[in-house]
């Protein structure tokens, strides 16, 4: 008790005379080197990723209308709330507001159909945060991309709602109510072109984003802007999106609908969730290999599995499952792909 009072008194004395520093009373922090650090932090990285997603997210509100906004808000709020409650319950340090749960909620809602009932979005967020992320130990320990686990869980729980694409606004109506990949799967390439009018019209629609699809995946150009911003800031490696999208392009071109080298790579590269997935989910640092070489293997693998599912699988789209499958082999990749040590013999 008495020693406590003494400490308080000392600090009061120091407060009164801040300029007269008593060297002999001074206590210095002792720690291992280095003593200076860069001003990056986890939350800075996370909020930058959110910023990079913003253009495509805002576009979706204008394009799909009010339900898009509702779903994104529900996704984000429920993700952050789940993280907060788990951390509170487990008496951990609260890091729910560092932006990472925000990303998960935003990415999840952006990868869902805009017409999905908001309560399903909330359940997806719950699965993403509580089961995929926090049950593994929280940020840094999760094996799978939380947003994709949330999406996959919704896919198996409500397959109809997850694959129903209704006409939301007039602009969507102008093209088609189904997603381009759906049309391709069920009606073939020729009818896809017919619906859009011409090849160029289709590429233009897919580049700008005036097509049906998941909430945030439609606008190639806005996602590119966000992705290039992250590459410029050094938060993601360009190798990942380039290798993943490139692999999809090359493989879909080779294995075309009417024989070898007859595919439409441009269409496949912009279709579905590939741009969103390649720039924002296959680059989720926690769940991908840590070395650049490993990341290239990851990206090529994810691209190849995507093509396999799109061309041969039952689903029209395979980005989500391909990334999850590659997440599963990430520890293995990291174990075998290590940088060469400086001065290593042989």
């Amino acid at each position: 008790m008495s020693s406590e009072t003494k400490v308080v008194q000392e600090s009061k004395v120091q407060n009164i005379q801040p300029k007269e520093i008593q060297v002999q009373d001074q206590k210095f922090t002792v720690s291992a080197s280095p003593h200076i650090r860069c001003n990056e932090s986890i939350s800075k990285i996370m909020w930058n990723v959110n910023l990079a997603l913003a253009p495509a997210a805002i576009f979706s509100i204008f394009y799909f209308g009010f339900p898009a906004l509702i779903n994104m808000i529900v996704g984000i709020v429920s993700a952050v709330a789940c993280e907060y409650l788990v951390q509170k319950f487990r008496k951990m340090k609260i890091t729910a507001f560092d932006g990472s749960a925000f990303i998960t909620g935003l990415l999840l809602s952006m990868s869902l159909p805009p017409t999905l009932p908001p309560y399903m979005v909330a359940i997806g967020s719950f699965i993403a945060i509580v089961i995929a992320k926090q049950s593994m130990g929280g940020l840094g320990f999760n094996i799978f991309n939380p947003a994709h686990i949330g999406r996959a869980a919704l896919m198996v729980s409500w397959p109809v709602a997850m694959t129903t694409w209704t006409k939301l606004t007039e602009s969507v109506d102008a093209v088609s109510s189904a997603t381009p990949l759906n049309i391709l799967k069920h009606q073939g390439y020729t009818s896809l072109i017919e619906i859009f009018g011409s090849n160029t019209a289709m590429y233009k629609a897919m580049f700008i984003g005036t097509r049906n699809g998941s909430l945030g995946e439609t606008s190639t150009v806005l996602l590119l802007i966000g992705g290039i911003y992250l590459i410029y800031k050094g938060y993601i490696n360009w190798h990942v999106p380039v290798c993943m999208i490139g692999t999809v392009g090359i493989l879909t071109w080779i294995f075309g609908p009417t024989g070898l080298f007859t595919g439409d790579p441009l269409f496949h590269m912009m279709a579905g969730g590939l741009i969103l997935g390649a720039f924002f989910m296959a680059t989720d640092m926690v769940t991908i290999p840590i070395t650049t070489k490993g990341q290239i293997i990851f990206a090529v693998g994810a691209g190849a599995i995507t093509v396999l599912i799109r061309l041969k699988g039952g689903y029209p789209e395979g980005v989500c499952y391909s990334i999850l499958l590659m997440n599963a082999v990430t520890p293995l990749i990291d174990r075998f792909v290590k940088p060469k040590n400086f001065g290593a013999r042989g």
């Binding site: 922090t29 002792v30 080197s33 940088p339």
Partner: protein, 437 residues
């Protein structure tokens, strides 16, 4: 054509505090505390006892061990105490305290003048050994041992990169002691019997590059301006960049035919060989945002940090950390009672604005440390293995002992992980384990 080394970081160099300050000589302190261990190797044993009168330059401690360097009195006066005292890099160390008699008298026979080019190599090495010369960059490897490589050496490199932020001691020496550097370099080239020599300087010090180029005009010595990138001054990186030779894992520079000396060491070699002056003083940068009047000082070995900082006007704000050396690899001090030793390249006082490191959180595997590591390691994994006491795995599968502890990984880590601390701990645990066997 210059090669590059992989990895590295670009911290703010903060040299502006002292870059343009000429080397100053403060008045002598009333006493000096001279530790018996100021070098890598066996500590010395005192040759004097309390009450003895000593003179400047007198040998006051020696050792029989191969790996050692003798210690000299840095002022004249009386030995008043021989005891364990605080030490900048080993907490406590047996030290000799000399009370200044104010006369500053040299021991007999110093200074002298020698024609160094008349001397035999063995004589020069003996002189350097006797002068207590050690690597002045901070590692304090005994110079005479480094200059007697048991392998063929064909290149001598002068490390003048000074890649640590804040430090400007080497820079000022290059501007002010150019003649002695030239002589020192020539002596070393003669001892090693090499004709090829590089002086590597980072390109954030263009003035030093031009002064050195002028000074070495007409010699075979090549002054090279290197890209500013930390840790450019790490021995292995410097060799790679200048010669494209890669020191093998666990090896020494001489394994690739190279010997590297800090530029400050060449000055002390010159002093020792030409004038017979032992290593009793050194140039130290006193800097940091908490120092009122940052300076470059020529300090006698054994001067206390407190005296030095007082001479620089004391603190301008509350220092959070006192660092011996640079901010990347220097040692944080718990007291100002530590003395300046042969390896003290800098004394920094940094406030919490600069050293506020933030709270450590789990690794998010962002890979920034992997990109920053100049040694091609996976620092994040080493930190995790260290955290979980898996030291053997760190050593055998993740190249633990290749780490040069440069701190690039910690600098760049957004999760503020103390990676180097885990690595140092893992190394110590591995060494303890193998010592048991």
């Amino acid at each position: 054509m210059l090669k590059r080394f992989l990895g590295g970081i670009h911290p703010k160099d903060s040299k502006v505090y002292t870059m343009d300050k000429t080397i100053e000589i403060p008045p002598l302190p009333s006493q000096v505390v001279i530790p018996m261990s100021q070098h890598i190797g066996a500590p010395c044993t005192p040759l004097v006892k309390v009450g003895d009168k000593v003179k400047k330059g007198q040998v006051i401690a020696e050792s029989d061990a191969f790996m050692h360097s003798p210690v000299h009195a840095s002022i004249s006066g009386e030995v008043i105490k021989i005891a364990e005292m605080p030490h900048a890099s080993r907490v406590n160390c047996l030290s000799i305290v000399i009370k200044n008699d104010g006369l500053d008298e040299w021991v007999q026979g110093i200074p002298l003048h020698r024609e160094w080019d008349q001397l035999e190599t063995a004589e020069i090495l003996d002189i350097i050994k006797g002068a207590g010369a050690v690597g002045m960059g901070g590692a304090t490897f005994p110079t005479h041992i480094k200059l007697s490589p048991n392998k063929n050496v064909d290149v001598f490199i002068v490390n003048a990169a000074e890649c640590e932020p804040y430090l400007t001691a080497d820079y000022r020496m290059m501007l002010e002691y150019a003649d002695r550097i030239v002589t020192g370099v020539k002596i070393v080239m003669k001892v090693l019997g090499v004709s090829k020599c590089f002086v590597g300087i980072e390109d954030n010090k263009p003035e030093a590059v031009s002064v050195m180029k002028d000074a070495f005009k007409g010699t075979s010595v090549e002054v090279v301006s290197l890209p500013t990138k930390y840790p450019q001054g790490a021995e292995k990186m410097l060799i790679k960049v200048l010669t494209n030779r890669e020191v093998p894992s666990g090896g020494l520079p001489m394994d690739v035919g190279v010997v590297v000396q800090n530029v400050g060491t060449t000055v002390s070699i010159c002093d020792a060989v030409v004038s017979g002056i032992p290593l009793i003083e050194r140039v130290t940068t006193v800097s940091g945002d908490a120092i009122k009047d940052p300076k470059n000082l020529l300090l006698r070995i054994g001067t206390s940090y407190e005296y030095v900082i007082d001479y620089c006007g004391g603190f301008s704000k509350t220092p959070e950390k006192i660092i011996s050396g640079g901010p990347m690899m220097g040692m944080a001090q718990f007291t100002l009672d530590v003395p300046v030793i042969k390896g003290t390249s800098g004394i920094l006082a940094l406030s919490s604005d600069v050293v506020n490191s933030g709270e450590e959180s789990p690794c998010i595997r962002c890979g920034r440390c992997v990109k920053a590591c100049p040694m091609g390691l996976v620092p994040s994994m080493l930190s995790i293995l260290g955290e979980r006491n898996r030291f053997k795995e760190a050593k055998e599968e993740y190249g633990l002992f290749n780490c040069i502890e440069c701190g690039s990984c910690v600098y760049t880590c957004p999760a503020k992980r103390n990676i180097v601390q885990y690595i140092k701990y893992s190394k110590a645990q591995n060494l303890a384990q193998s010592a048991k066997k």
